[in-house]
Every structure is written in structure tokens, then in C-alpha cells.
């Protein structure tokens, strides 16, 4: 009997009873079915494992920044009512840290939602903190009153923006857990219901343990990777440049070179001065970094 003989019906599921080889064929077909089932289980199991350990963490990583929840950089400001505003005082609470400005239409749209959230969840250990990126407090105070803001608001500064990775678009909202870690970052206006969903998850977490199964309400759109600034570069004598790898002589060489070059950004200053007075200038930052890299590579000045 030829076991390779083609089967009489599709998939060999209906062998002819009169066929003397039918029982063998049936047993071969059953074997194929079992193998198929095993293969299917392997495939489904494999896909589950791929999803569980590869795709899902990849999406979480994308939303949360390296799959880790970095510690929120310290903020110490005076709020618009003249009170001290220290982020460290909020440890144990869930915080929505909102970088905004009065001239920013999408920021203004979000604020009534934050006022509602503050009202609803403050008793559960929650607070919104507003850091305005306006140049002056006047319009902020006016807005605060007009919109009946019920949470602390302070006027920020470029250094705070840099510590939080550079606030390139407003609004930028960070969700901070009870453990003081950043769980999500949204750049641009977000539906308040989605922020609320994330707040509810964070409110449910233990104050002492990092909640690793935090699920961002948004995986696409405005959810962006959390990348914090380098304090050594932010607090440097040449803002934006981490000078810790340079020797004292190399630092002097760099400063000398930067003070001899004109910044082409239109400020009419040297590169060094531009860095010192306009931390946001990307042109002087790029050129100064290039100069520093050259010195580091050549070993000049040291």
C-alpha cells in the first residue's frame, strides 16, 4: 500500500469505507490533524509570547520612555499667590504637571478639564500643578482668576523646561505617580478624559512601589517619550554644554574660542554670550557643541 497515495477527499477527512486502506489513511489523517493542532497551538502560543514579551513592552517603552519611569526633576518656585511651590512636597500624591502659557490656545482649552479633575480627585491625594511659560506673571494672574484655577500655578523658567527635557511644544503634560516618578508625557492638547484615565490608574498604585503595569491611555498622537535634561549641561557655565569631560585648560580654550566667534542667530553677540543670555538659541547651542567636540577629539588645550 502506498501511503503517499493521494487522498480521495479534501484534507482526507472523509475516506471511503469500502477502501481496504481506509483505516491506515484515517490514522495518517488523524496524525496530520494532531500535528496541525500542535502546530496551531505552537503558533498561537508563540504569537501570545511575542505579544506579551515583545510587542506590548515595545509599545509601553515608546509611551513611557525606555520602559522606566524616571524620577521627576525637582521644581522649586514661588506660585502666583506668593506661596512656595516644591514638587517634593507632593510626594505620595499623583500629580499632573502641566507646562502651559496664556498665549497658547490648546493650553487654554485643557485648563477647565484640569480644574474639574482637581475638584474631583484632590481628596484622593491628587493635584494639578501648572507651570506657565509666559515671560511675565501679569497675564497668568489674570487668567488664573478668570478661569477660577483651583490648583497651584507658578511662572516657570527655561532651566525647569530644560530639566524636563526641553519643553518644545505647549501644552506639555507629565503624569507623576505617588512615587515621584514620571509615568507619561503628552505634548500637545489631549482629551481630558484620557488624562483622567491615567490619573485613575496612578491613584490606584501603592505609594511605595513603582507600578510597572501602568497603561498609557494614548499610545499614539501626543504621547511622547520621556527624556529628561542633563543637569550638568543645564547648570553649566556654558548653558547646554556638559563640561565635565573637559580639563580646566580645555574649558578655557573653549570659552576663548566661543568668545571670539560671532553667533549667526541675529543676536549680535558672541557664541559664548549668546549661550549665556539666550539658553533657547539652538544655533549657538549647535555651534558651541561642535566646538566642544572638536576640542575633546583633538585633546587641544589640555
Amino acid at each position: 500500500m502506498d501511503l503517499n497515495e493521494p487522498e480521495s477527499s479534501a484534507d482526507g477527512l472523509q475516506p471511503q469505507p469500502s477502501d481496504p486502506g481506509a483505516s491506515v489513511t484515517r490514522s495518517v489523517s488523524r496524525g496530520k490533524l494532531v500535528m496541525g493542532a500542535v502546530l496551531a497551538i505552537i503558533v498561537v502560543g508563540g504569537l501570545y509570547l511575542i505579544n506579551r514579551y515583545w510587542i506590548k513592552p515595545a509599545l509601553m517603552t515608546q509611551a513611557n520612555g525606555g520602559g522606566e519611569h524616571p524620577e521627576a526633576p525637582a521644581i522649586s518656585l514661588t506660585d502666583i499667590e506668593g506661596k512656595r511651590l516644591d514638587l517634593s512636597d507632593y510626594k505620595g500624591k499623583v500629580v499632573v504637571l502641566d507646562f502651559w502659557a496664556t498665549w497658547c490656545a490648546p493650553c487654554r482649552e485643557e485648563i477647565p478639564g484640569f480644574v474639574e479633575m482637581q475638584e474631583k480627585y484632590a481628596s484622593q491625594g491628587f493635584s494639578v500643578i501648572g507651570v506657565s511659560m509666559d515671560d511675565e506673571p501679569g497675564p497668568v494672574v489674570e487668567f488664573y482668576k478668570e478661569f477660577k484655577m483651583n490648583y497651584p500655578v507658578a511662572v516657570g523658567n527655561p532651566r525647569i523646561g530644560e530639566l524636563y527635557g526641553g519643553i518644545l511644544g505647549l501644552p506639555t503634560t507629565f503624569l507623576i505617580g505617588r512615587d515621584g516618578r514620571i509615568y507619561a508625557k503628552h505634548t500637545g492638547g489631549v482629551n481630558p478624559a484620557l488624562i483622567e484615565e491615567e490619573v485613575q490608574q496612578l491613584l490606584a498604585m501603592s505609594p511605595n512601589a513603582e507600578r510597572i503595569d501602568f497603561k498609557p491611555a494614548l499610545l499614539v498622537g501626543t504621547t511622547t517619550k520621556v527624556e529628561l535634561g542633563d543637569p550638568a549641561a543645564i547648570d553649566s557655565e556654558i548653558p547646554g554644554l556638559n563640561l565635565t569631560k573637559l580639563t580646566a585648560e580645555q574649558k578655557d580654550t573653549l570659552k576663548k574660542q566661543l568668545s571670539e566667534q560671532h553667533c549667526p542667530c541675529g543676536c549680535n553677540l558672541t557664541l559664548l554670550k549668546c549661550r549665556q543670555v539666550d539658553r533657547a538659541c539652538q544655533i549657538s547651542l549647535k555651534l558651541a557643541r561642535e566646538q566642544m567636540e572638536k576640542i575633546l577629539k583633538s585633546g587641544a588645550g589640555g
Binding site: N51, P106, T222
Partner: protein, 164 residues
């Protein structure tokens, strides 16, 4: 079949990855000055055009924005004694509706032009001059806004002698 299933599973991942909205740092507005004439006489008018180009997907506010809290687009000039007056004509903005606002906003998108006219002093001495200035603007896209910033501008011209 496995390959197809696998690819089918990966495809949404690829779509999700590329759909993540990112905002690049750097400028979203370019501006160029074109002088109508390089040489002018004392007590005459020097005309120039500021060509403004806004990156696709972004807008900047009209010089007369719809809402009072919005920062207007403005050409600002540093004074020099040879220029006694100026007239700046801004284009009319386009009314656009954005996801973040129920009110349509008057904005500039794409390419627009601002006309600048400088009145020269009748006592202006012959020579080369430059009026420096900037285009101040505040840009947004459909989701977020960038901080107010500016592009430097330069208006170079030559004052000729009366008889030249």
C-alpha cells in the same frame, strides 16, 4: 501562513510607531527681505518685501489675531536716524478651524508677504545703510504651540547724492 500571521501582527505595530506625533526643535518660519530698489535719494521712500514661509503643518498668527491673547506676527525695526518713518502692510490672514479651538482663527500659512516702506530723512547723507529688524511670531500646529520667537531681518540700501 505563519509568515502572513506574523506580518499581519507586525503591521499595526509599524503603523503605530510611525504615527507617533513628534515635534522637531528648530525654526518653522523662514523670512527673506527683497529690496525694491538698492539706491534711494534723501527724502524718498525705500520699499522692501519680507517674504515669509511657514513650514507645512504650522501656522502663525495674523498681525490682527482673532483672539486678544494670541501673539501677533510683527515686523519690528531697529531705529536709525536716517529713517524718519515707516509703513508696514501685513497680509490678511486666512480663517482656519483647529482641533483645539471652537473659534476659527485668522492665521498665516505657507507663503505670505509683508510690505515695508521706509521714509528717508531729507538730510540723510550719501552712503550705505542697513536697517536691522526681526519678524516676531508665535507658531502652532493643530495640537501644540511653540514659544514666541523671531527671525532676524536686514534691510540694506544706499543713499545717493541729489545729483546722482
Amino acid at each position: 501562513m505563519i509568515t502572513k500571521t506574523f506580518l499581519g501582527l507586525l503591521l499595526p505595530l509599524v503603523v503605530v510607531s510611525t504615527a507617533v506625533w513628534a515635534q522637531a526643535p528648530g525654526e518653522v518660519v523662514k523670512a527673506k527681505v527683497t529690496m525694491a530698489q538698492g539706491v534711494a535719494r534723501p527724502d524718498s521712500i525705500v520699499k522692501a518685501a519680507v517674504e515669509v514661509e511657514v513650514l507645512p503643518g504650522y501656522h502663525i498668527n495674523d498681525h490682527h489675531p482673532t483672539l486678544d491673547y494670541l501673539i501677533p506676527t510683527e515686523v519690528k525695526l531697529d531705529p536709525i536716524k536716517e529713517v524718519t518713518g515707516k509703513n508696514i502692510i501685513y497680509p490678511k490672514g486666512e480663517l482656519r478651524k483647529f482641533a483645539f479651538s471652537d473659534t476659527p482663527l485668522s492665521v498665516y500659512e505657507g507663503k505670505v508677504q509683508v510690505e515695508v516702506a521706509l521714509q528717508l530723512d531729507r538730510k540723510a547723507l550719501p552712503g550705505d545703510y542697513e536697517v536691522k529688524g526681526k519678524l516676531a511670531y508665535q507658531a502652532c500646529n493643530d495640537h501644540a504651540c511653540l514659544p514666541p520667537t523671531s527671525v532676524p531681518l536686514s534691510f540694506p540700501f544706499k543713499v545717493a547724492r541729489h545729483g546722482d
